[in-house]
Symmetry: C2
Subunit: 445 residues, 2 copies
């Protein structure tokens, strides 16, 4: 049997009732974080533009757009909800690979759930299977792949295809073709950083995976060797690969347990710097104008991925640890409101950003950062962060995650509805119809 076929068999045969309690709990946290991000991102100009362009191509009104009043069909809902859930760069992260697991899988499954009834139990098994597939494929290639590609675009599409294949009731051969059709659409280069195209790449992973499963359901074929073949996904999109990582511990080790949730609305590698600056602000209450300079020591990857010194706009500022440090010190926050055009151009933020100096320190892990404030009066304040909030060593609590979702929904959903949404996500496994989550995420017209 091909490796692609082996993954299909795993996806279809996974027994959702035997999943460990920790896996079930992490699934609920992932779905809650996904829903909150989708609601919070729904009013972004990128989503406005996409909805304006795509509503004329909506085949009916079966499906909800979280955080919005328009309705569309399942394929477009998977795309647009996926874009909303990622546009703030606030969604979950599989830290080893920097995959964002929920956008492809939850966005496609939730769209299907408004097309056909899906129980909480069915959703759970399909969600876990989809996340395993995409994260395991990511494990095989990320180290020789992420410099060029957005791994959620390229590998996430397999997760969406796998999850949809399961709930659509595909047989093993059809599910293998669905994964093949995912491979045929695998795309998204890193040149798109800081543009609307980034969230598009992520949303397309959800939509394209679903499309692959829908085609395979009707007998459409692809290569059974899509993943492992010499002209297949792993060989073509990565210079090196560790294919054994795809099946090692499959069904016993759960990648979902490595999922993490961001406390801050920007590239995850800049988070230790934010933690450090927030701690300095809380301890010393420095007047931003009295800060002479901010010296940062960070991991090499942090400087590589978030090294933009003078971001031109809100989207690009998510990839600037200089901006992140400045807003953490000025605003005492790094939520979705800190990465806007307005905050980028704020004189106080811009001034302080220009006084931030960062260097890569090879001795620092990605969850670490060191920050030193030198005040105009000569005072020096230092702090070292050794395990950033949101990392596996220091995860967000359920309470913090709920508060994050509440913050994201401000001005979009009434408070009482936010609590319904949070409750539906936390208890999704017991829902007779998970579309209740999508409905809870839609504001009254």
């Amino acid at each position: 049997m091909s490796l692609t076929g082996e993954l299909s068999r795993f996806v279809l045969s996974l027994d959702g009732t035997r999943l460990p309690e920790k896996v079930r709990a992490e699934a609920a946290r992932s779905v809650l974080n996904w829903a909150g991000c989708a609601v919070g991102g729904a009013r972004h100009p990128a989503i406005d533009a996409a909805v304006a362009a795509l509503l004329p191509f909506a085949a009916g009104t079966q499906c909800s757009l979280l955080g919005r009043t328009e309705r569309t069909d399942a394929l477009h809902a998977a795309l647009i909800n996926g874009m909303s859930a990622h546009v703030l760069d606030f969604d979950d992260t599989h830290l080893r690979t920097l995959m964002h697991p929920s956008v492809p899988v939850a966005s496609s499954l939730m769209a299907l759930a408004e097309r056909m009834p899906i129980t909480g139990e069915q959703f759970l098994a399909a969600f876990v299977a989809g996340v395993e597939v995409e994260c395991r494929i990511a494990n095989a290639i990320w180290f020789a792949h992420n410099a060029d590609w957005y791994i959620t675009g390229t590998a996430g599409v397999f997760g969406a295809a796998a999850a949809c294949a399961r709930v659509l009731g595909l047989d093993e051969a059809q599910a293998t073709h669905a994964l093949g059709l995912a491979a045929a659409q695998s795309a998204g280069t890193r040149e798109m950083a800081g543009t609307m195209a980034k969230c598009f790449i992520h949303g397309r992973a959800a939509q394209n995976g679903m499309l692959g499963a829908l085609l395979a359901q009707r007998g459409f074929t692809a290569a059974a060797s899509a993943l492992e073949g010499v002209h297949g996904f792993a060989h073509v999109l990565a210079a090196k690969r560790d294919m054994d990582a795809i099946t090692a511990g499959l069904g016993t080790d759960w990648e979902l347990l490595q999922n993490s949730y961001k406390p801050y609305a920007c590239g995850v590698v800049a988070h230790p710097v934010i933690d450090a600056c927030l701690r300095l602000r809380q301890a010393h209450r420095p007047d931003p104008a009295a800060i002479a300079r901010v010296d940062l020591r960070v991991s090499a990857r942090a400087l590589e991925l978030t090294g933009i010194t003078s971001p031109p706009d809100g989207l690009k500022s998510k990839w600037s640890l200089y901006h992140s440090a400045a807003v953490a010190l000025v605003d005492g926050a790094a939520g979705e409101h800190q990465y806007t055009d307005e905050r980028v151009n704020d004189p106080l933020v811009r001034g302080l950003r220009g006084r931030v100096v960062a260097s890569a320190d090879p001795s620092l892990a990605e969850i670490e950062a060191h920050a030193t404030l030198t005040m105009v009066d000569g005072a020096v304040h230092e702090v070292h962060v050794d395990a950033v909030v949101g990392s596996a060593a220091n995860p967000m609590s359920d309470q913090e995650l709920g508060d994050k979702v509440r913050g994201l929904a401000v001005g979009i959903l009434p408070d009482v509805q936010v609590e319904v949404l949070i409750g539906a996500c936390r208890g999704f496994e017991a829902l007779p119809d998970v579309a209740a989550i999508a409905r809870a995420g839609v504001p009254a017209r």
Copy 2:
């Protein structure tokens, strides 16, 4: 200005009224060949499966599917007509790069033409601009790209985006974003050879390019350096590249003049072998059962791309020069009816296929082949083809092209309607509304 921006300017500023007569004539031949292939491919099982899967997602009935009675929206029409036009592997070829120019550009433009009026003159300029963009991008990378990728999937999407950007009236910044969104979707690995996913990759180039243009029209953004940036299309999808090829002679040298049309319904590199076997059959009328062996000498690329010795089905047989040689000798033809499951399993064809021996001869160009028949009675017949039919040195005549389209439409369109279709394509430049071509390609219900 970025290279991506420079291409956008070219696309929007091209003066269709000043195109050389030869370019206009080749555009009409390309459109005719595209329409014939779309009609001829429309009843393939791959198209049946795609239509069954996608009709529930059709937003209305604005657009035609050539060769079929169902109707759908413009985005789905671009995909499905693009798949139909490629599924027989009978569409046009830019021989240098093996790009199939018309599927992305004509399929997307024709779908838009049923959504908004497009005159023949507008279609001409947009078609030529789209073909220039995709073929020039292909020129920059094919030599370090085609081993892994289907270049019509990866580079063709730019052609569709460019053509749609022009007819949608995008400004230069928007058109640059449309090309960026094309880059964000660039996909399709060669592992899919001989599966339905191959025509899907080709059709998606049309649909995805259109989608990029529709999003950009509403203000959606992408990287202005999508093509040339260090994490952009050319660097990520090719190990080497010749970026100067993209703009050298832009607006004066026309890639469309390098377009060619297949007389045979299979991979173009196998065509010299077919020519050779057809000539041997015509000259000697050999009884297939009396042929002891067939020795072929071919170009290295022909053996690499069409080296399948025992194809399992019709789609795979398009990549077998052994099968092509056998059907040419048995049937005296290599049209769409020779690459079916039935012909693959025919005892006479299968027997002869097993007696074909092929070797790569580095002294042979891709348009050459040498064939030797050794008969059971010891007689030996030889032939050398030095310029295959359909090559630039030996192009199909207008008459041959018309007959090809007539053959493709047998059993799908009534004869009189085929002549209307041929006439509309040949004279498309004078049409007040090019949607007349799509309408002529649809059978009565």
